[in-house]
Subunit: 242 residues, 2 copies
DNA sequence: ACGCTAGGTGTACGGTGTACGCCTGTCAAC
DNA sequence: GTTGACAGGCGTACACCGTACACCTAGCGT
């Protein structure tokens, strides 16, 4: 009999590894998910993980799968456009539950069955609306990462290293206003919306749905207009004469 | 006198470092741009670089600046929509000159003057068309990374590690067709376009312009319809009744 | 009772970014 | 001239990363 049976934690399996990785990323950020860090979190030696996961890339691919596993399918009674919209927003909800998920999706090059499944579902939703395979393909491209429920984080502030003195801040603001007036303008426009927002922040959910609807409505218009790829352009150019 | 004057390469400066980094990335990929690798490329010890660049993140930010410096401004005679379109496509051309640039832009969290300048120019183009700051803001968000001339690489194949045997391939294809029929369908649609393309590849330039025009045309429609954020939706939902 | 094997261990290698201190060539001011 | 500051390149060192390889061991089917 082994002396005092050291609290033999139950054996690992792939699922336990993945869930632990997700939990670790949730509480300490994606950067904390190193093979060593994760192993320690599981009370195990780093190389043990490689018995369940091929390499780090597959690990984060698996983490993405776990997150995407929580996507609930849309109400089947919905029309095609709303169904696609709902599915994408469901993906968004799943992704937003884990702050690190966007970055992980972007980083992972893997095309897992879960990922393909979601893509297939979205494409199927468009096809169900009668869009041709061709148009569906282009719309999928147009949606881009929005299929996953997020758009690229263009406007995120990286938090200044050293909080500048008021004078510096004043001077920087002045120079900024002079060099980038339009960026300033739209930033201001974003803050004076409904309610007094914190500086620089804007309603990301609204921005997302705005873009999503812009694309889906555009797709619907093209479809109704009988668009085919022969035209090689969504609509006529703005210049009225050819 | 120093013996035989060892071929004293001229002193480094920030610009030389950045250009060397770009050249190195061009010929050996972004992964080859490590502080050590770049230093060796310059015939210098790694730590020497830190006299010209704060850290690696700033280095790649600087590389992005170099690439984005090559964006030529659009013909001032163009209408606002075409001007924005042209500017974005110019950014795309600049980025596509360097295969690593997409990834670098995504990776870099820095908001350099060059980056802000481009954003400001695009926003200014929309404002010049009469769009309100508010609508301009939303459209900028909708454009997302397309401002930089690329959309997320959703459909890129990571090249299978071990080329499978024909039987395996057959079996995989069969299962794929069953599980992801719509993905398969649109992939096929992409290949049987104009000319016989290589498998899986599609005309990325067309996809890009398709999405870009879908968004710009949508923006124009909203603007002409006098859109304000009060509506909180680009257009009426597809269900006709409220 | 035996041996196979799945799974956890230990060590080691080559890579990374970068903090810290030294050393030296250049140049301005005395 | 001589001096002293200082910009810029050098060397060492640290902590961390992913992972290849060999080994050991518990548990199980035969």
């Amino acid at each position: 009999m082994p002396p005092a049976a050291p609290p033999r934690r139950e054996r690992l399996d792939r699922d336990r590894v993945l869930r632990a990785a997700v939990a670790l990323a949730d509480e300490a950020g994606l950067a904390a998910v190193s093979m060593r860090g994760l192993a320690q979190h599981l009370g195990v030696v780093p190389m043990a993980l490689y018995k369940h996961v091929a390499d780090k890339d597959e690990l984060i691919g698996g983490m993405v799968d776990v997150v995407l596993g929580g996507i609930e399918p849309p109400d089947p009674a919905l029309g095609w456009k709303d169904a696609v919209r709902e599915r994408v927003l469901a993906a968004r909800r799943a992704v937003l539950r884990h702050p690190w998920a966007r970055r992980a999706i972007e980083a992972s090059t893997r095309r897992t069955p879960v990922v393909l499944g979601h893509m297939d579902a979205v494409a199927g939703g468009l096809r169900a609306g009668g869009l041709s395979p061709d148009l569906t393909h282009h719309v999928m491209h147009a949606l881009g990462n929005r299929i996953w429920g997020f758009s690229p984080e263009l406007f995120e502030e990286p938090a200044p290293a050293h909080p500048p003195t008021p004078e510096e801040q004043e001077a920087m603001a002045r120079e900024f206003a002079q060099r980038f007036p339009h960026v300033l303008e739209i930033a201001v426009a974003a803050t004076e919306g409904d309610l007094g927002r914190v500086g620089g922040g804007c309603d990301e959910q609204f921005e997302f749905e705005f873009a999503l609807d812009l694309l889906l409505d555009g797709a619907e218009r093209l479809h109704r207009a009988g668009w085919t790829s022969a035209a090689r352009r969504p609509v006529a150019r703005s210049s009225q004469r050819p």
